[in-house]
């Protein structure tokens, strides 16, 4: 049955195919348009460079009035990513706007990789290392990048 959420997700998918932003991709899973798989490539000139990080995006029938739940499937070491892959990003919580689409979500997460916000940490160790021991932080991140090839 076509609902506003499903109709909108078809539009989002069409746009993502026709006008794909650099470094991100995503598509609905085979039998359920409400669950998507996505990949974000680690941005250049950051310790995440060369990584291919997998995510899942789960929508409800309230999309786009409410944000989807986005989660990294790949293991991440990042100040704003929880141990379970959940992401602490304002636009996915209290600053969500119905004008965002999948494309905007993925590019926002991509910029979060380049610019972590250590003041609202989801992983306190990553936040602390990011602020106080950048070399160790980068070492941990690079370990994730290498693991992302295997996953």
């Amino acid at each position: 049955m076509s609902t506003p959420a499903r109709r909108r997700l078809m539009r989002d998918f069409k746009r993502l195919q026709e006008d794909p932003p650099t470094g991100v991709s995503g598509a609905p899973t085979d039998n359920n348009i409400m669950i998507w798989n996505a990949v974000i490539f680690g941005p250049h000139d950051t310790p995440f460079e060369d990584g291919t990080f997998k995510l899942t995006i789960e929508f409800t029938e309230e999309y786009p009035n409410k944000p989807p739940t986005v989660r990294f499937v790949s293991h991440m070491f990042h100040p704003n990513v929880y141990a379970d892959g959940g992401i602490c990003l304002d636009i996915l919580q209290n600053r969500w706007s119905p004008t965002y689409d999948v494309s905007a979500i993925l590019t926002s997460i991509q910029s979060l990789l380049s610019d972590p916000n250590p003041n609202s940490p989801a992983n306190s160790m990553a936040a602390q290392l990011y602020k106080e021991n950048r070399r160790e932080y980068e070492k941990r991140v690079k370990a994730c990048v290498e693991q992302s090839f295997i996953d």
């Binding site: 609902t3 506003p4 909108r8 539009r11 746009r15 309230e62 786009p64 009035n65 409410k66 739940t69 070491f77 929880y82 141990a83 379970d84 959940g86 602490c88 919580q93 209290n94 600053r95 969500w96 706007s97 119905p98 004008t99 965002y100 689409d101 905007a104 940490p121 989801a122 992983n123 306190s124 160790m125 990553a126 602390q128 290392l129 021991n133 160790e136 941990r140 370990a143």
Partner: protein, 267 residues
């Protein structure tokens, strides 16, 4: 904290619970409870129906008497944070159905609004989605010749979550556009050092964010429709306070405000 750095990678961050999701879960539970008990837009009820909410509260009972001396009916809306936008859009379309000319000029205003939003920097792709639905609702109620049937259809569409919420989103976007277009004027109503654009992103565009005076000013300007808000609260005076927005206009829509919530009033 310092020695935590030594723990191995597998354990990192495990002690941190995903608080955001817990909060969201609880919020969803509360919303479910509200949506099971209150329609998005209710039926017409006599003003005296408000009495039951204030059984032995003399301050409010006096004010309901005052309200009943001016208004015949009240129409309740669901208290989900969108009540102002939903009530205002519904009441406005409902009264426009009574006047073909006003309806036509409002239709034109909406038709032109999409391009203004895109010019202001709103993403065309997503704005279009909400605009299309808004126009579809206008067309569906507009083509029904019998006014009462048209109002029934409006009521039906406004109680269908998909349509109803998209109407709310589009008015939120128009309100945000109005605030940004006229930001010099509106900036003095915003507390703290937030810019008008920040305020719009945090308080206007997201669904379920409650409305204040500034939202109403901008929404009524964007819809080119005067609104009277009747404030009913615990204040000492026997009469309710009234505000017309934009100031000095003849109001076409009347709303009842009780702390935290808006319903529609009928003369």
């Amino acid at each position: 904290m310092g020695d935590e750095v030594e723990t191995d990678t597998a354990a990192e961050g495990v002690n941190q619970i995903n608080q955001d999701e817990l909060i969201l879960q609880q919020q969803r539970q509360i919303e479910r409870e509200i949506s099971e008990t209150t329609a998005l837009v209710g039926d017409l009820e006599p003003i005296s129906s408000l009495n039951s909410e204030y059984a032995s509260d003399n301050v409010y009972l006096e004010k309901i008497k005052d309200l009943a001396s001016k208004y015949k009916h009240v129409r309740r809306t669901r208290p989900d944070g969108n009540c102002f936008f939903r009530a205002f859009t519904y009441a406005n379309l409902e009264r426009l159905l009574d006047n073909q000319d006003d309806f036509t000029s409002f239709y034109k205003l909406v038709e032109n609004s999409k391009n203004s939003l895109v010019e202001l920097g709103f993403p065309q792709f997503t704005v279009e989605d909400f605009y299309d639905t808004f126009i579809e609702v206008l067309q569906r109620v507009g083509e029904i010749k019998n006014v009462n049937e048209a109002k029934k259809e409006l009521h039906r569409l406004f109680n269908e979550q998909g349509y109803s919420d998209y109407m709310v989103v589009y008015l939120r976007l128009l309100t945000s556009g109005q605030l940004q277009k006229d930001q010099e004027f509106y900036s003095c109503f915003i507390e703290g050092d937030r810019t008008v654009a920040d305020f719009c992103h945090q308080e206007v565009e997201p669904m379920y964010k409650e409305s204040d005076h500034i939202h109403i000013m901008a929404a009524s300007a964007a819809m080119n429709t005067g609104v009277r808000v009747v404030y009913m609260d615990r204040g000492n005076s026997k009469a309710n306070t009234e505000h017309d927005l934009p100031e000095g206009t003849t109001p076409s829509v009347h709303l009842l405000y009780r702390p935290g919530h808006y319903d529609i009033l009928y003369l």
